[in-house]
């Protein structure tokens, strides 16, 4: 995204909005991670507390979920950078 045409005041406003969305994005990721790892790891409802096996599964699941998101994020960023530099080569 190209914000170069914006005034400093506008850029500050954009920064604030971007930070807010990043925080909302973090919360949304948190919610999805919990749902996914709950669905994957918790299948026994004969007790109301997590077994140590379930707890371990949740820990691994959370780590893997985040490793996956980060890898997708890294590849996605590379891909967008390629698209951008490709456009510059064409236009300039």
């Amino acid at each position: 995204m190209d914000f170069s045409g914006l005034s400093p005041a506008e850029q500050a406003q954009v920064t604030k909005i971007v930070e807010k969305r990043q925080f909302q994005g973090f919360l949304s990721m948190y919610g999805k991670l919990v749902e996914k790892c709950f669905q994957t790891c918790v299948n026994d409802f004969t007790s109301k507390s997590l077994s140590s096996k379930e707890d371990q599964c949740v820990n691994n699941c959370a780590a893997k979920f985040m490793a996956h998101s980060e890898r997708v994020s890294a590849r996605f960023a590379e891909m967008n950078a390629d698209v951008m530099s490709g456009q510059k080569n064409v236009s300039g």
Binding site: L27, S28, Y30, G31, L33, C37, V42, K48, L50, A63
Partner: protein, 92 residues
């Protein structure tokens, strides 16, 4: 949920801060709503086998109670993990 946003802003009469505090309260409300919605949907898929009768069976009711407790436990465990991770990243 209160721990999620830390100590929050201290008392202040500035309008800007109040708007921020309001935004924070609304974000917290949205987070709790999202947690609740995902809990309802997850416990539905874990505990409700059929929709042919209008009432919850005894077994379904017990399952729901434990499902809510376990979902909450997963939410707390994952939150703890993310917090440690976030602190680790800030130190770098």
């Amino acid at each position: 949920m209160a721990s999620l946003f830390g100590g929050g802003a201290s008392s202040s009469s500035s309008n800007a801060l109040n708007q921020e505090r309001l935004d924070m309260a609304l974000t917290e409300m949205d987070t709790v709503t999202d947690l609740f919605n995902r809990m309802v949907s997850s416990c539905q898929s874990k505990c409700i086998a059929r929709y042919a009768e209008a009432e919850l069976s005894k077994g379904e009711s017990v399952c729901i109670d434990r499902c809510v407790a376990k979902y909450h436990a997963v939410y707390a465990a994952v939150g703890e993990k993310l917090k440690i991770r976030g602190e680790g990243q800030q130190q770098r």
